[in-house]
Symmetry: C2
Subunit: 210 residues, 2 copies
């Protein structure tokens, strides 16, 4: 099972990487931080392929290097807290690239084997629609929109999509928000439930993790 | 009622402009095409304020020129048909600016009078999730996300938001899609129903037009 994990150095991403290692025949780990990525790949006997998701050429090169995929896990994500009145367009672009544009680029360039799976980590929109998170909400909903169309466009290639709705998970993503809520899942718990759902047959279109 | 109509030269926008003229005390019309805009403003005794929605300085200048608003109508929009495999990032950026980023910029810079209304023309997501429309779906859902957060952030300023769900309307937006479906509303019909809802008291949060 040729597997590419995007966002492998993130909180949920690292847990996913550990739990995927040994379970898939070939594991590619991608992220922005090449150093952390290289260490993680070494520990897990995986392959590190750093890429900047806002850079089309880098994503294209990544897709070519990993070859036809059986499983693509999109676990990249960025968050920022800013009211609409203070929102900088640079931050909006950064969140757009991490949460939505990188996914569009991967779907443009990735090649898939028959019956491949694509899983995208998403949210419960009603839980995140809070003051200060407009860029996060907009780009996460945008990614849902991409998945809803990709599902139809890739049907002819036999690729199946799973949108994973995650509750709060205790990761560094919460740092700019003042820390994760006490009810947040541990990243290892979240990763275990994600993989259980994403590797199940048949694949569910929307996997709701509580 | 100091009113700003964004996307005034578009199909629904022009109908909205005609129906707003004479009904609001001051009507500002914005769009990208300065020439069409000037003609429309002259015909309707309105004020033309051209602006490129992807340009932060232009939107800021626009917001300053029009002053505190009682009604902001966001009727800008762009569509493009391309499979995810062929999607150019330039087109994705263009749609992002027209459908989502321009709204973020307006909400950053616009000033509002108490009890002001903001109406954003939206879609029925399940109707547009079809192959070739991924960028449109992603950016329209992104705009919905912005509205869901803006509603909460602007409550303290007394600004109310209305998301208008529109069915197919027979406008030029459909040109790249091979023409509007036969069941499409006439833009004048759509505009009449939009204004009826947007000017009603109390303001509904989501106005569904069928």
């Amino acid at each position: 099972m040729n597997t590419l994990l995007i966002g492998a150095t993130g909180g949920v991403g690292q847990s996913l990487a550990h739990q995927l290692a040994g379970r898939v025949s070939r594991l590619w780990l991608s992220g922005r931080n090449g150093q952390i990525l290289a260490g993680l790949a070494r520990d897990l006997s995986a392959l590190a392929v750093p890429a900047e998701l806002g850079n089309e050429l880098e994503v294209q090169a990544l897709a070519e290097e990993v070859g036809p995929l059986d499983l693509l896990l999109y676990a990249a994500g960025a968050v920022q807290r800013a009211g609409l009145r203070e929102q900088s367009m640079a931050d909006l672009e950064r969140l757009t690239a991490a949460n939505m544009g990188g996914l569009a680029l991967l779907l443009k360039y990735a090649r898939f084997n028959p019956q491949a799976r694509v899983a995208v980590l998403g949210v419960y929109p009603e839980l995140i629609a809070v003051p200060g998170l407009s860029a996060y909400v907009a780009t996460k909903l945008g990614a849902e929109g991409l998945v809803s169309v990709a599902r139809k466009e890739f049907r002819r290639e036999g690729v199946r999509f799973c949108l994973v709705r995650l509750p709060a998970v205790a990761t560094g993503l919460w740092a700019p928000l003042g820390g994760a809520p006490k009810t947040a899942l541990h990243p290892d718990q979240a990763a275990a439930r994600i993989l259980e759902g994403v590797l199940a047959e048949p694949l569910t279109e929307v996997l709701e993790i509580r």
